[in-house]
């Protein structure tokens, strides 16, 4: 039996579901959407709120911390925090525009893929850059602060350690490697778990539409 011969029957069969009343339909409009893109939008709003809170703390610390090294540290991270805020606003705006537009299926799939992939790449790169950057920057500023005499003098500690210094350096390198390598694999695993499978499915759907 061919599709054309059963066209009418199939259409009737698919048409036979119980219709919803207008009050049921109205109620549905009050519920929350559960699609991946809506979930991402909600998590971006949470990220934004957290980012604003962190930004305020950074500004407070940059202005009023007793140690100049920490004032510089938090002052620098105000810039990064503002950049993160701009990226979050850009993504939320992009999703907002996307949600209000009805595109053809293929373009719709491509847009969802682009938004999620962009978020995934940004998250991954930011984590990879910031973990070592924060540690090295904090250690360097701490060392300089100590040398200037307003805090613990690390150069004195280095002198006291003498030949054992290589053990401390090795310890720091090991710590950075574990944090770096661990952070790399954990972030990759976490982002893949959240969006990896979804992106693969979207890509295969786009490819399926493209193939003749």
């Amino acid at each position: 039996m061919e599709l054309d011969e059963l066209k009418y029957q199939l259409n009737k069969r698919l048409d036979a579901d119980q219709p919803k009343s207008t009050s049921e339909l109205s109620l549905l409009l009050k519920k929350a959407a559960t699609s991946v893109i809506h979930k991402l939008q909600r998590s971006l709003w949470i990220d934004m709120a957290a980012n604003i809170l962190v930004l305020l703390i950074f500004i407070w610390q940059a202005l009023f911390n007793k140690l100049w090294s920490l004032r510089i540290y938090f002052g620098t991270f105000i810039i990064f925090s503002v950049i993160a805020l701009v990226v979050l606003i850009y993504l939320i705006r992009k999703i907002e525009v996307f949600n209000n537009t009805v595109l053809p299926v293929k373009q719709n799939l491509e847009q969802v893929y682009k938004i999620i992939n962009f978020y995934k790449i940004i998250c991954f790169r930011a984590t990879m850059i910031f973990i070592p950057l924060c540690i090295i920057y904090a250690l360097s500023l701490g060392y300089l602060e100590g040398k200037s005499g307003t805090s613990v003098d690390y150069s004195m500690i280095v002198q006291k350690l003498g030949s054992k210094i290589w053990m401390v350096v090795a310890g720091i390198v090991l710590y950075l490697s574990i944090i770096g390598v661990g952070g790399y694999y954990f972030t990759r695993w976490f982002l893949d778990r959240l969006y990896g499978q979804y992106l693969i499915k979207l890509k295969s759907l786009i490819e399926e539409l493209d193939t003749e």
Binding site: M1, D17, N100, K106, L202, L209
Partner: protein, 163 residues
């Protein structure tokens, strides 16, 4: 008429479209309900951009298919079983035709999301040009896909009808 009221009225008239999409894309009643809710919400969110350039039904088809195609449930560990109990009630017809329709329905349930969209639009009598516009591909591509799809369905229906 307030916008929400206008939307509900239009949706009420065309809700069979969402029911059809849910029936073809989901295999449990709970999943169907979830998808119905998701399509309704998505249509409501984008209703402001509906300018009446196309028919509401065509616009709703786009929304429903976009939502259904990007709507993924967590993979179930057990193999997927086609649950015929959730199929919409059959229309009155001869037992032979009923069995054939059932077999065809099972064959459709096994198709990919894109193929399901093609079947859906095809049985709604959309032209290849319109199907191409909804899916974002060329009418030529639609024609090629339909030829392949029809023979795939024929084979698969025969398989289901034998057992």
């Amino acid at each position: 008429m307030p916008v929400e009221q206008e939307f509900i009225t239009l949706l009420n008239k065309n809700q069979n479209i969402i029911h059809k999409v849910c029936a073809i894309y989901m295999d449990t009643l709970a999943d169907k309900e979830d998808l119905f809710q998701e399509v309704t919400l998505q249509a409501w969110k984008s209703f402001a951009t509906f300018r009446g350039e196309s028919q509401f039904s065509t616009w709703l088809y786009r929304v429903a298919l976009n939502t259904a195609i990007t709507f993924f449930r967590k993979e179930k560990k057990q193999p997927q079983v086609i649950n015929t109990e959730v199929f919409p009630e059959p229309v009155q017809q001869s037992p032979f035709l009923e069995e054939q329709t059932k077999a065809m329905y099972k064959a459709i349930a096994e198709l990919s999301k894109i193929d399901k969209a093609l079947v859906m639009l095809y049985i709604e009598d959309y032209s290849y040009h319109d199907i191409g516009e909804i899916l974002g591909i060329t009418p030529n591509n639609v024609a090629v896909k339909m030829i392949r799809l029809k023979s795939k369905l024929k084979e698969s229906t025969q398989k289901h009808y034998q057992f």
